[in-house]
Amino acid sequence: MIGSRSRIAWRGAEFRLLLPILLLVPFGFLITNVALSGAPEVGDLTLAVGYVALFAGAHLLLVAFGHRGDQLILPAVGAMGGIGMIMLNRLPQDLAGTSAFGLELGMAGTQLLWFGVGILAMLAIAVGLRDDGILRHYKYSWAAVGIALLAATLVFGYEVNGARLWIDLGPVSVQPGELLKIVLVIFIAGYLAETRTLLTSASVRIGFLSIPPLPYFLPMLALFGVVMLIVVRLNDLGTALLFFGIFLTMLFVATGRRSHVLIGLVLFVAGSFVAYRLFGHVQSRVDIWLDPFADPLGAGFQPVRALYALGRGGIFGEGLGQGLVTLGGNLTIPYVHTDFIFTAVAEELGLLGAFPLLGFAMVLVFRGLRIAALARDDFGALLAVGVTTSLGLQTLIIIGGNTKLIPLTGITLPFVSYGGSSVLASFIMIGLLLAVSHRSGTADRAPGS
């Protein structure tokens, strides 16, 4: 095995990029501490130091294992997560938290704990998954796992904010949708890698549209049905939009046919229209989006408050720790730590700070695409595309929702929003990206070439 020949690989670029980022986090903690206490004191930096230690550790372990994967991804994640940690530490800590395993943790502490779990998962996948056979050969098993997750959510799930997304597992609640996303990507990548050539060569042409050959396509259509099932049963529009986006993007990359994507889009628009007509919650979401100011204290409460927060931020921002997070003891935006974390960042750091956050997400996305383009095999390429698209679309959908570009949906901003399932799933996806890029990274150095 190639992996057995691993030796130490100095990841210099990663080191140089991580250094200022790891400086940034304690610095941000310091600013918020000063702003919140109103006194020029350093305050408690424990969590910031913990965060720095996690990423430093991850870097050192990758070096030690001789990992030759991409070196920009981990720093990009570190930067996004760092901004997120600073904001979460600054928000009221009783918004969320854990009191399990004898630990009493506030929101930021819990998030840090999940970062730890996520980084471990990422390292395990990045280092351990040097042969992707287990992923590609058992894709139908993975599909079954996904369906099981979905079924479990339908049966055991409970509702938060109108959407049934959560399963209670004793001390922690998990969102199976987050893990389902990964399973879905693996399945589609495996399926398309196998049937790609058939799908491209055997299209039926009707006029200028080329219809994909149906027999090869049926599993995909079944998937479409599953996605629509989620919309209907779980009231989860965001996840449906995300899944469909991932699916269409992977299909496009695999076949290069814009018409397939077009057909998919038409189906989606038709489906959305039907959903709009049939389901009240879809309709109200859209109506709120079209005119949130119609009912600023009722249905449009959060979107309107979010827009006001963006306006308050302006170009320069209100300053870290100086945003109007609470008003008379109540949060100005109730879901500020999850759905509206971007708005909180944009309020306190302004447009000047919002752009770098978007920039880090773009680095992540374009490195992911680069990994896909350089991948040695089709499965790896499609896996990387799926994972990257998932992270990128999540960012676009939630920021678009925050800024009233598209209807608001309950999706997390990867690595920034609070949420264990989301953090874990995002780190697993980074692990997959690192694994794929490691394989193409070693190819150039393989003996005999």
């Binding site: 308050r312 209100e318 008003l327 695409l369 676009l396 920021i399 009233k404």
Partner: protein, 512 residues
Amino acid sequence: MIATNVRRLGVYLMLAFAIVSGSITWWQVVEAQNLSTRSDNPEVIAARRSLLRGTIFDAEGQVLATSALIDGLSRRTYTDPAMTHVIGYSSLRFGSTGLERTFEDILVGQTDPNPIRDLVSDVLARQPEPRDLTLTIDRRLQDFAAEQLGSDAGAVVALDPRTGAVLAMVSTPTFDATPISGDPDGAQEPMDALRNNPAEPLLARARQGLYVPGSIMKVFTAAAALDAGVIDPDTTFPDQPREESEGFVVDGFTIREHDLGGIEPDLWPLSEALQVSSNVFFAHVGLELGAEGFLDYARRFGFCDSIRIGSPERGLQVAPSLVSGSLDGDCGPFGGEVDLASASFGQGQVVVTPVQMALLAAAIAGDGVMLEPYVVRDVRAHAQGDVPTDEVLDTFGSGGGTRVVSAEAAAQTRAAMVDAVNGELGRRYAGQGDVTLYGISNERSAGKTGTAELGGEQAPHSWFIGFAPAQADATSRIAVAVLVESGGSGSDGAAPIAGRVMAEWLRLSGGE
């Protein structure tokens, strides 16, 4: 091949990121100012709870509105209910109206009139410092005008024709805004009472009330026709004397003269026709001018569009006055000749605001130049006590003037209006508007009465527009429009009020 598709995907995603960046920029830069000043913004209302607002002074430095912190809440006190429809209210519960709304950001100090200082404060996140406003309105004249209206519903608008400054702008009935602006919990009850009051005290009649003008519209018709050259001061219409009694048939409809009160019809030129307020004469004039000419001049005078007292960004809004059927707030085409003829003497589809008619009077008084009106004179640093500070941060004036008719046409109209008040025939109609009756011996006024017939049993609205001093070679210092709802004929209701208000102002500003 996959690599090619991935590159294409990259381009699409890049595009999507660009769009999202644009969306963020839109809210944080382009819309930021609008969002932060929306008065329904709960944060704005909440922040206002403890924010002091600047003091508002009248032209002579008298306090009209002050703020104080009581139990941590910013409370607004208004000293003069007659000013309510100009200043508006600033309520912790209902948002703000009037100048309190249009000057919100300056009053609470969120915007510095000086753009550089504003940027510095923004960057330093300085606590806003309230700023004071000085109005062009003289409280003495405002109160005097309100007293004259008494318990009647109506409006008085007085302008300085030389500057465009608003000297008084009264709408009655009015109300005390202090209870609405005080304790947010206690504000609901007085507000409900105001909303349910059938006399509609919440309506700022001077700016928002639309009324049929009646004969005061003839001033417009005369000025427009003189400027267009379709008549001169000596033009007569041969059929007019006969039609005074028999009626003037237009398009099959008969236009009848109002009760001339025993005056024998004669072949009247402009001056006499305005003195007796001949509907037949002005119907002829309007038809000579033609529908297009009429609408063209109406637009020049500011009809057919909403106007603002102040700048377009920071002005009190005035409802659009219309001369023909409404078309999305603009004047539509005339329904026919008879509509045009009726509009020419102020009936038909014409509806106007008192502010618009005051502007018409001011334009005639100002030699045919119409100045954009303004009501806030300057912004000053916040005064601690009752005396305005000397630190003037920004001054305002008229946004500019437009020549609406030639100086010659204005002078001819003005002469006819002087006759309408002082002439042999006119005196019995508009004579009550003459300032000599109210203790001013050496000046004369010009004017025109209006009696807006509403049909049915309803008493007509009483109008007067005019200006003083108006004798030859004098420069007019005040132009007024007075409206008394259901006040009867113009000579009974509005003319004496206008005469007294003009005389009062000539007295008050006597030193000039």
